[in-house]
Amino acid sequence: MRARRILAIVFIFVLLCPAVAHADEPYSNYNYDFWGTPIPAPAAYVPSRIIDGRALDIDNFNKPSDLFTGPDNRLYVADSGNSRIVVINENWELDRIIDGFDKNGVRDTFRNPQGLFVTPTGEIYVADTDNSRIVHLDPDGKFIREIGPPVSDIIPADFKYYPTALVVDKANRIYIVAQGVNQGLIELDHNGDFVGYTGASKVKINLIDYTWKMIATDEQRERMVLFVPTEYNNIDIDNDGFLYVTTGTIALEDIDYAIRTRSKDDRYAPVRKLNPTGTDVLRRNGYFPPVGDVSFRSRGYAEAGHSQLYDVCVEDSGIYSVLDKKKGRIFTYDTDGNLLYVFGGIGNRLGNFRDPVALDIINDQFVVLDFNMAQITVFEPTEYGRLVKEAVELHLNGKYDESAARWEQVLKYNANCELAYIGMGKAYLRKDDFRNAMKYFKLGNKRDYYSKAFDLYRQEVIGDNFGLVVAGLVVLYIGSRVLKRIRVRKKAGLKAMGKVEA
């Protein structure tokens, strides 16, 4: 009786206790399953702070359009509207402002610089957009050189040069994204001389358009829309010198088609990884190609429509993230093209954006620049996000067992994480535990790996029971012979009986 009373009191206390309060991100956290259904997932990244002019104790940013993580975890911001570069140190305090430089004794300034790049040694390259030039500064912000519009026979004389983004590789070659250029990236050598265009995407020829064009007259042909390749809008470079580019000009039907057919074709790909010859080498082995959202409600809803990729950033491990300008989401993919996590959204609260334009990673934290709100949002990983990332990175480094241990923990947070099941399955496969490998690959909907595990399992079963299999076959054979003979005899007997009756 007494025990019961105590129990009752405990129950009352439990009921009276408020639910555990937790910070709620102003966006939905989800991932796509094998069938493309968005499945809720734990938050991988949560907003931690906002950096704007006031936080740095300077004039507010004005239409900032790019940011870049330099050495020593300094953050370089291209504050385009104020024509200056703001450098922020790793404690999120102002390091310095570069609003001009001394060019051969003459004071010079930027005009609407929209892109910048900082080399590992700290040299700064600024795409000084309205001045139609690239400005090269040393780590202290002193002028080294400027690189004007590219000169070549293949560039028309009336070409207006507005560089908006750039990267510099280890050999000091410069790759530039410029407004209105659809031949790909502009490649300059270490002297700043024009080498050529690189990374132009193949044009997809539509059979119907092609036939029309064949029967059209010259005048009609001129009035037709030109078949133009896609135009790039942003660029990043990884440690091995591969260029990551994004484009927002792929036709929505093509993206739909790519999602529907789980296409690996780079022609429908809004994010590409270019090797030194300009060919796309991005692996697209996930359930869906990396295009951002793969399932969306039809038009008319606030969150409807396709993603519009606007920036990309690559981490040292090869994990890359893309920024969806339209819906304010960040999608992170591993090197195989599996979607790891999604976060961010459009809105007015901490962790939302109005017009996100640039994305980079600094010390495991994402920084997203908002053009419209003129501020930077910093996101830090949660335990879940960190586990997923570590699991992927450990796997890439060949530490499979540790990776599997991380995946196991991930599953405790998120039992719907198909990627974690696949990771566990791979670990079991390596340990020759085929049955468990099959079980996990099935949970992860990974058919090719399941097939591999099943093949080995089948070999094992047949190998173990080889004697039994042979014996079974022999018994079957003899049995069928005996049965046949019995049947023949019966028939003969019946015939004989029939004759007697007749």
């Binding site: 069938w35 099935k442 058919r447 090719d448 097939s451 591999k452 093949d455």
Partner: protein
């Protein structure tokens, strides 16, 4: 007993279609009961196939089985074929009655059952590399049934092969027409219903 015998006869029929279909009609080897049983078996086969095909070759959501949809997806095309077939062949001097058509068409589906059932078991013991065999038999079943359907139509109506071929094309077009008219009918019905409903509402609110 009659049904069992008739089913056994179908095994002979699929290997000897000309004789088989002839006797099916003229020697009364087939009957409607068996035909319905075969159609039901095809439905069951397809449901089993959807649910039990090995994981490697099966990409459907197993949890989302709608048995009515599955049954209709077999039965509806079948009866549509029969109806379109009958509509056309009565106009084109076909000798088969509607019953004959149903029986013939049902018997032509036997290969779908015979091949698909073992194939379900087979799909559970193969890997992706061996999937080509699976696909081969999968297609074989359809082609075989298609050829039987064609020959059955030819025999039951006593058509020449060219005439049968043209008729088959017309039947397929006819099936499309029937679907179109049915959709039109339902859409009109719906509009009529909503029209009268609005009148009713208008009157009811004014009174």
């Amino acid at each position: 007993m009659e049904v069992l015998q008739s089913l056994r006869y179908s095994l002979y029929l699929i290997f000897h279609p000309f004789d088989g279909f002839w006797d099916l009609k003229h020697e009364k080897k087939g009957n409607l009961k068996t035909a319905m049983l075969i159609v039901a078996m095809v439905c069951v086969t397809f449901i089993l196939r959807r649910q039990l095909t090995g994981f490697i070759l099966n990409e459907v959501k197993l949890r989302e089985l709608n048995i009515i949809v599955e049954i209709l997806s077999v039965a509806l095309p079948f009866f549509l074929w029969c109806v379109a077939n009958w509509c056309l062949t009565t106009l084109m001097d076909g000798e088969g009655s509607f019953k004959d058509i149903v029986i013939t068409s049902a018997y032509a589906l036997i290969p779908l059952i015979l091949i698909n059932l073992p194939l379900i078991a087979f799909s559970n013991v193969i890997t992706l590399e061996e999937a080509a065999f699976y696909r081969f038999f999968d297609i074989l079943a359809i082609v075989w049934a298609g050829v039987l359907l064609f020959l059955g139509t030819s025999v039951v109506h006593q058509y020449s092969l060219t005439k049968t071929f043209l008729t088959c094309i017309c039947i397929v077009i006819g099936m499309g027409l029937i679907i179109f008219i049915a959709l039109l009918f339902f859409s009109l019905l719906q509009q009529m219903f909503s029209f009268f409903y609005t009148i009713y509402k208008e009157v009811a609110l004014r009174l």
